[in-house]
Symmetry: C2
Subunit: 461 residues, 2 copies
């Protein structure tokens, strides 16, 4: 695949939060890449149009977000690719409208996710768009390669978007909802009257999990999130929001439910997995699905990785037997051979959507040029719900560091939150300092760095 850097995508090392309230703006006209003749040219049903293909294959260009190396936000570059991709049997070409950001993308950027080929590689595990040949509106799930205007994927990886669902919602749904669904209903075997602890309850998976919990009778949800997000998650169904930044969440849970939890969803890893294990009731299930604790700072933070590795949870069967406990691991990225299981889950989720029981919560939508800021927002846990990229071209007058649009009603809250975060984010500051140190001169202690990389590699396995 050929590609060259698009007009400079400015990346600031200094933290630039969104200081101004972005104006709600109308959707731009359809992106220029969306041309009717192109769609027709590829439709299986119109082979006569194939003669038009030759010239198009030469002039065809599309933008893609390419990971050019492991590291900070600036390693993801907006590039222009040339030449229309050709299709193999069973594949479809999708004109991408919107893409979802996931933790795995952030991990991949830092070189902490082994399901991604080596850079250069186009990021992105989920998107929504139009199947060029037939015009179907679909959402797509893939191991990588979806953050671009045109994506070629196996037809089996696409799912029809139900009526009334926007492209943004459709890009927000697959990874978070399938993850939450399979954890709660396959491993977790969630049943009425049970209690569930959802970490990062304001995140994409957290909000999906809360909504799915509410589809079962009398399930009580405990959710951790910083205080500024409590109103939103309470409205979403979390009965017991807990501010993990100012309180010991283990104590808080025990106060309300002395026996502990039936199910705990743990995206954190490290010492939080130990705490979760100890918080399980008999017959309780701990489902760990990430190592977010490893993500501290823009680039691979070797201290955070080492700490996570050191504290990594390891369990003996005798402890499981004597505790009557279950420990499960889940990651959709490692489940890509299991499209049947995934489709089953997806169909159930779409039914729940149609019944109005689940609905993705969009935090913010960003232009492709703003991918660095979008990633930063997610990585610094400033989002409530899903962070989305749109392939719509970015108007000249728009400032680069602003999201394309955010829910207006959230603006006030966000300002409060920022203040709040400043006050309470003591623990994080320490990590950030550490992070900055790492970003500066790279050459101090080069040997030690290499040793640590070895460790990190082991951990990935």
């Amino acid at each position: 695949m050929s590609g060259e850097d698009a007009p400079a995508q400015q990346q600031n090392a200094v933290d630039q939060k969104q200081e101004t309230k972005p104006a709600e703006e109308p959707k731009a006209e359809p992106p220029k890449t969306e041309s009717a003749p192109a769609a027709a040219a590829e439709a299986d049903a119109t082979p006569a149009a194939a003669t038009e293909k030759v010239p198009e294959e030469e002039t065809f260009t599309y933008r893609a977000l390419v990971l050019t190396g492991h590291g900070g936000y600036d390693k993801v570059k907006l590039q222009v690719k040339k030449g229309k991709p050709t299709l193999k049997a069973g594949e479809v070409l999708v004109r991408v409208k919107a893409c979802g950001l996931n933790f795995a993308d952030l991990m991949a950027r830092q070189g902490l996710y082994d399901r991604m080929p080596s850079p250069p590689v186009t990021l992105g595990m989920e998107c929504s768009g139009l199947v060029e040949a037939v015009g179907d509106k679909v959402m797509v799930l893939n191991r990588f390669g979806l953050w671009q205007e045109v994506a070629v994927v196996p037809a089996s990886h696409t799912f029809l978007i139900p009526e009334g669902m926007s492209f943004e919602e459709a890009a927000a749904l697959p990874v978070n909802y399938i993850t939450a669904y399979m954890m709660l209903f396959d491993f977790g075997n969630l049943r009425p009257n049970q209690s569930v602890l959802v970490h990062a309850a304001a995140g994409g998976v957290g909000i999906a999990a809360t909504q799915l919990c509410k589809t079962v009778k009398d399930v009580t949800v405990f959710g951790t999130a910083s205080a500024s997000k409590h109103e939103t998650i309470s409205q979403g169904g979390v009965e017991h929001p807990i501010d993990y930044r100012t309180k010991d969440y283990v104590e808080e849970v025990r106060k309300i439910s002395p026996k502990g939890m039936d199910i705990i969803l743990d995206p954190l890893g490290g010492s939080d997995t130990h705490k979760a294990y100890n918080l399980l009731k008999p017959m309780g299930k701990l489902i760990t699905y990430g190592t977010a604790n490893m993500l501290a700072g823009q680039k691979k933070n070797l201290l955070a990785v080492a700490k996570n590795w050191y504290h990594q949870f390891s369990i003996h069967t005798l402890s499981l037997i004597q505790g009557n406990k279950s420990v499960c691991g889940f990651h959709l990225g490692y489940l890509d051979g299991e499209m049947e299981l995934i489709s089953q889950a997806m169909n159930t989720i779409l039914d729940l959507y149609k019944e109005g029981k689940v609905k993705p919560h969009i935090d913010s939508t960003w232009h492709m040029e703003q991918v660095g800021d979008a990633m930063r927002k997610m990585q610094e846990r400033n989002n409530i719900g899903k962070v989305i990229l749109t392939t719509e071209p970015m108007p000249e007058e728009e400032k680069k560091e602003e999201p394309k649009k955010e829910d207006k009603k959230d603006d006030k809250k966000k300002d409060d939150k920022k203040k709040d975060d400043k006050k309470k984010d003591d623990g994080k500051k320490e990590e950030k300092k550490d992070d900055k140190k790492k970003e500066e001169p790279k050459k101090e202690e080069p040997k030690k760095e290499e040793e640590k990389k070895e460790e990190a590699k082991k951990e990935e396995k």
Copy 2:
């Protein structure tokens, strides 16, 4: 509790298998301890009868199987206890008719089960009998203390025996069926079209698990057992019986199901748990519920214990995440605070019994005097289904080493099996030799022994 040894219960160190076919014999008259006035005396509804209590409390005696110390079969003694036990609020007195043997009893005898008080203590986790006060036929589940003619238990630990179920069946049901049920339907979340590997498929839990699997549409059961038991387990519903003594069961499973299993029930521990983990499909569940591999020989076999400890399965969360796997531990003995969960499971199981979908398979029934041989039969894996003790008095003319009764139809098979076992039991012989060595002079290397005991203790925790 006072107690003295009953007339010598002969224990042979040498392996005495049942060489003759025991005649099917009619039930003896009700045990002498079952007296109507006694029952009336304790009924809450007849306080007037209380005056009769005083003389009875002095003369009342009953037999109990007491673990007098950790070690071989001879450590379980038939003793006579004096004095009628008094009841606290919420307790009932049960006239015990039949008792079930479980692996935990064998482990306890060897000092490998930490849910049992120190000897002397009456063994037994399950029994059936009559509630003296009201005459209800019940089955009972308790942490220990049920292998005796009279047992005082919390009323909440008793379950009414449904019509048509014999006392023997009722004594065979609770531990095995609740264990199998909770593993398959709570941790395992068994669903149609799934595959289940049942180790020790001819054992009590194995037969219960197979029957329960068959209550779900199109579930395929793979079962390990020695060849002589294959006919029985096939009839019981095992589609793929595997002789683990002559074949590599991992290879056999992969031949039939290359992707592996959805659920694996593992009572073995040690290296078999590793094999099970590797045999799981994505989203597969490994449920480990014992360490039968530790039980080699009559007494605590330090080599087997150390081996099991050395090979004990320990799992990191990253491996679980990348494999999308679940590892669960189950042991009913550690779940005794959860009577609500247990009752729910029991009620469902009793409904299935009434519908004719499950039915305990009794291997053999033994008199209390024969407890050593009964334990031996189970420990040496010569049983098919449940080994039961009866409290009926043992007729003089009966040979001690014979079971009270066994299914006649099985006799032919058993003879075959014995031959079979002799041929194929090479691996076991080695362990037995080792065992005999340990039984002889205890004083060689007393220090090393103590060190090893330390290790064994750690393992129990």
